[in-house]
Amino acid sequence: MGKEVHSESALDRVEKEHAEWLEEYRKAVKKVPERTNRFSTVSDLEIKPLYTPLDIQNKDFFEEVGFPGKYPYTRGVQSTMYRARHWTMRMFAGLGNADDTNQRFHYLINHGETGLSTAFDFPTLMGYDTSSPLARGECGKCGVAIDTVEDMGRLFANINLEEVTTSMTINPPASIMWAMYIANAERQGFSRKKLGGTIQNDCLKEFIAQKTLMLPPGPSLRLVTDTVEFGTREVPRWNTISISGYHIREAGATAVQELAFTIYDGITYVEEAIKRGLKVDDFACRLSFFWNSHIDFFEEIAKMRASRRLWARLMKERFGAKDPRSMLMRFHTQTAGCSLTAQEPYNNVIRTTMEGLAAVLGGTQSLHTNSLDEVYMIPSEQAALIALRTQQVIAEETGVTNVIDPLGGSYFVEALTDKMEEEALAYIRKLDELGGMVAAIERDYPQMEIADAAFHFQKQIESGEKTVIGVNKYLSDRPDLEFVLKIDDEIERNQIERTERFKENRDKAAFQKAMDELRRRCEGPPCWDNNVMPALIDAVRAGATEQECCDLYRDVFGTYTDPGSF
């Protein structure tokens, strides 16, 4: 830190002794050379041998670091952090049909997880019922198949939806899945005012990275804004967007790109909601974020610390937020799937442990730890339990949760935090110049930045510049895993039949009336009277399937397909 915490004479002494040390270091490496020509993070950010107060002398402790729960929140969003309550242990789960996944939810809750997170299968994610010809072979393979509100009921059977918070990873059809969740919860007697959870609902990163594509950017943003508006008025405890860096990183982005593109997506959602007529302090507190925790330990911690400071400043300075809650970057973290290896898969437990620890030292609000078998298939029960236990060991055995932001004040971590913020701000300026994120996406800008980084990293692996144990160093014959989940191909037929029966039994007139109202709202100009959410809740109650609602969207708004650039 600068002169507010170090006297000028102390900094002079550091400078002098640092120069002396550097001299000795240079002499020493002439005798025993450094291990490599260039030390860098997994994102290829160059790292010096030593950091001292000199690296952060121009930074003001009170302005840049400060205290947990105080602006700019570098040290955490709450004053107490994990001394009051651990992060929410939220394991991403979804397999087979609704009953299979409900069973997995109960298994995880019984073993101590504290929040739910739903993984849908690809037809559900893309807005198709299991019966669609495009869905062949996909049912239940990569998550749970949900076609109807009845499936949603079985998915959350015997779970108190006012007590547990539920995250749903769903994007283009987010409004529909949320409508099904609300309709089901109300049928069970729960109040929408008391429902807590998150829909991912981050359409921009789909174009950038995850490629769950359905509608063009404009209508996608309209639907996101409808959910923000509806949540603000009707479901006040719900996080209406989980602005996600995770998938951007998995697609090959650097830590800085993940940070910058995600924050810029956040800026775009705030702008859209303001355009709708909402006041920033009425909705911003329900925006949440989602980071990847990759294998480079300090880089991740620095990224998470920088993200809080960056968002707080943007909300205050760019959008004039007054309520401190509008400035809080609250985030979920998942360890990096792309860091896991199919070779010697048991080593994945070690990687996940390090990444989970980084997320905790970075101050995450909730955490999913990957299972060691995810390089073959979605998690088996045994592997998911090891992953959950990893979090519990970090929380309850290691002692790292006794102190808030233990790395705050580390010369290295503070300097790296500053570096992350500076480089992300450079990208943010670039995106402003390009005319915003939608314009940038249309020019393929973030997509190609990520593709370049992914290719560069792969080259570094092949040249041996970056090491992945078991892949390009210390190779061995891998042991077979004891457990790999199997999804029965038969569940597809059963699911199709169940949905057919459901459709036969619905009140055709009520269904048609609800769909007509949904169409009227979609075709109208975006405003509260045309907000899709109330109509969607009525439609799914009247028996509309996910695909029927999405087909209506596709019909009214048009579709978007992957341009396939590389």
Partner: protein, 138 residues
């Protein structure tokens, strides 16, 4: 080989998953290795992939999938190639597969499967050694 045209490769993403990092990295590496590359983008049906492969007159299809639906889409692509008398187009795959599925996929006619961690140089070498252009340059 003097008259041989460049190898033409279709990199294709069957199924509904959007995990395209591998496909795009491999497509670039093929291009840098001197092959002619066409990339379909995500979310292609087996019918679309086979139709593109025939229209583009490719020598090889490289399939990338991480959704778990390979047990349906890979054999279906082989079946469609046969129906269209295009069995001479070779097919390889990459992505995430339970180990026990690999013999089944090979039995269906997939020539080689590359798992996570496969090196680009190994994939390119494999293609260079095992795939020859279906016809000479015109």
């Amino acid at each position: 080989m003097a008259n041989a045209r460049k190898l033409r490769i279709l990199v294709a993403k069957p199924g509904l998953d959007g995990h395209d990092r591998g496909a795009r990295v491999v497509a670039r590496a093929f291009r840098d290795a001197g092959f002619e590359v066409i990339y379909t983008g995500c979310h292609q049906t087996p019918e679309q992939i086979v139709s593109t492969a025939i229209q583009e007159d490719v020598d090889l299809i490289g399939l990338s999938i991480l959704s778990g639906a390979h047990r349906y889409s890979f054999p279906r692509i082989m079946e469609l190639l046969k129906e269209n008398n295009a069995q001479d187009i070779s097919v390889i795959g990459g992505g995430i597969f339970p180990l026990e599925d690999i013999p089944t996929l090979k039995a269906a006619g997939i020539k080689e499967l590359f798992e996570p961690g496969a090196k680009l140089s190994d994939i390119i070498d494999w293609v260079g050694t095992n795939i020859i252009p279906r016809r000479e340059a015109e």
